[in-house]
Symmetry: none
Subunit: 198 residues, 4 copies
DNA sequence: AATGAATGAGGTTTCATTCAT
DNA sequence: AATGAATGAAACCTCATTCAT
């Protein structure tokens, strides 16, 4: 054999689309969506801007595609939660799994968190908000005390904050994540009790 | 009486700077910093772009000036907190006052919250972060249990979230604010107990 | 005695016009005419741009006024030369005096030299060129050999170059100026001989 | 044969970069660097301003690229001179070749000459100055009499002046150039003798 | 004698996007 | 699967100038 094409190129063959997504997400998360230009993405990948347009119709579509690819776990979680009994254990499990998901796709969620003004009028904005909303509804039923609803929202939001805002708290990331999870679980537990859960 | 100069102009004399800040903040909060152009601000005020540059050296300076003007209450709060004994009552009072401040300058804080990626590398980013950090330090001492530190951070972020993310929870904003405040106070109280407070 | 006005201001009273010229020339010479803005001049003087317009009608007028004030010696020299017999001594004397003038008003001539493209279509351009031309005509008569005409032109430009381009030649400025003057005188002398001077 | 694409476009394909340089140099030389806007260049070429930025990163880069392309002959000349024995003949040859180079790329050197204030703080300023300096060092050794060094500088400067400042001397450009070259050669010859050359 | 406020024109630069090849 | 060349719109910003006070 002995093709003339060098290995790097060979390995890259066909996964340019994925590489675009990776680099784009990295830059979006680091600098924000508006401040990341297609030129920058293209340069990092050592391709031309036009190449990006072979794989995606617009800049927004790059983001949408990333979102859709990485967000499946949350969709699954929502689906799973919907079919469970609304016991305390379920709720705690959801918090645990949600924390997991956030960790798994940290850059995306960091991006969503830090670019809310931008995301708001992108196509994905509404859909993301809806998903979080559903999650909340599962954890606390909409007829519960206002204060317990707030507790649940706060639990979710604490998980987000744990990912992105608490990087100066504590030394060991693992320990911190555990602490964050515990606080969130606590909040949900209190909400459950308040709402008359057993 | 009845000079020849029309009233609108007269009233505007001398407060253009303030009007620029007002309109700018409104638009920044609504659309985000990057997506708001100076053209837009100028058009709303019915002045030329160059007029903006008479009052502010750069676009960023407009934001900085808003930030500095509206953020004084937090500085005061930090200062006040620093001089109080670290009792539970102090902590609760701080939470209460902080909630108040957020409400007072809601558009600015909404902006800060939704444009973190942008704010991060603006001049104000670090300074804001530092202030929040100090606030946290007053509420819980940095040697406390990790979990209590997280609780305090969570309390602060709950207040933020209350402002901006919970608009679909409950019907009455007043009631919701009360609930948010209660949850935050709760978290701080728990943290205080955990940290060995009386 | 015992005025409330501080000395600096007092002393400045009435000579703002001159101070504007001084600062303007300094900046024009240093950075070029186009790259020096009225804002910059005003800031250095600690007055507003509008103040400049009290003293001068336009930016160009500032330059014109400087030119007219500092250029009198050349006008005088031309006038003087016109009335002298065209002997070698006269020519040498003109070179000497011209060198002197250049040194006296170095910043202006440096400016003229380094901003020819700009000066060309300012009002002063033609008038300056005409003066240099007359000077040349006195030194060599227009019917002389082409080569001697060039020698004379070269003499004059050597003086210019001496001011501005030879700053890396030799150590002692005084010595250098003497050398420059000697070369120029030489050229004129050769031209005079060639043209059949006695 | 006889494609549908019109000839003009076809001929332009691939040489836009060159055409930008040509038009830019023409305008820079005619009006000066600062007074020439990218809009003007683009309009003359019947392309958009953005097209210029496809080919060059900044306005300055357009100039730099022109400079680098047209200035090679001087670099070559310096290189050549460096390897020759420092005889009178070599020096005269250098003057001759330098005059040639100036004629070849007259617009560029006219530009450099008339925009010194501008060029000074552009990237090319230092590099140009260094080259002229080296040229001078070859013609006269730096330890020679000050007066001979001045003579050499004057020779070089006479060549420049011949290009741009003597357009009103004599009728026939060819004749004038010959005269200029002779004066410059003379100066170098005198300098050589003075420096103790054979 | 000078300021404060503003303008209109225009500057350089960047961006997302297109399309023939 | 990707490039080279270009565009149209718009961004931020600066400038010389004006004028009522």
């Amino acid at each position: 054999m002995g093709g003339t094409m060098d290995d790097t190129r060979q390995r890259r063959r066909g996964d340019t689309r994925r590489r675009i997504q990776d680099v784009a997400l990295e830059l979006f998360a680091e600098q924000g969506y508006e401040k990341t230009s297609l030129r920058e993405i293209a340069e990092r990948l050592d391709v031309t801007k036009a190449a990006l347009y072979y794989h995606f119709k617009t800049k927004e579509e790059i983001l949408v595609s990333i979102f859709e690819d990485l967000t499946q776990p949350i969709e699954d979680l929502v689906e799973w939660g919907r079919r469970q009994p609304h016991t305390l254990e379920t709720k705690q499990e959801i918090v645990r799994r949600y924390a997991d998901t956030l960790t798994q796709a940290a850059p995306l969620f960091r991006f969503m968190h830090e670019n809310q003004a931008t995301v708001r009028d992108l196509r994905i904005g509404e859909s993301f908000k809806a998903r979080i909303h559903t999650l909340r509804e599962i954890i606390v039923d909409p007829d519960a005390d206002l204060i317990d609803q707030v507790r649940c929202a706060s639990a979710i939001y604490t998980l987000h904050a744990g990912m992105f805002l608490l990087q100066d708290v504590g030394d060991d990331p693992e320990e911190r994540n555990k602490a964050v999870l515990e606080v969130a679980t606590d909040l949900v537990t209190q909400a459950h009790r308040g709402a008359g859960g057993s």
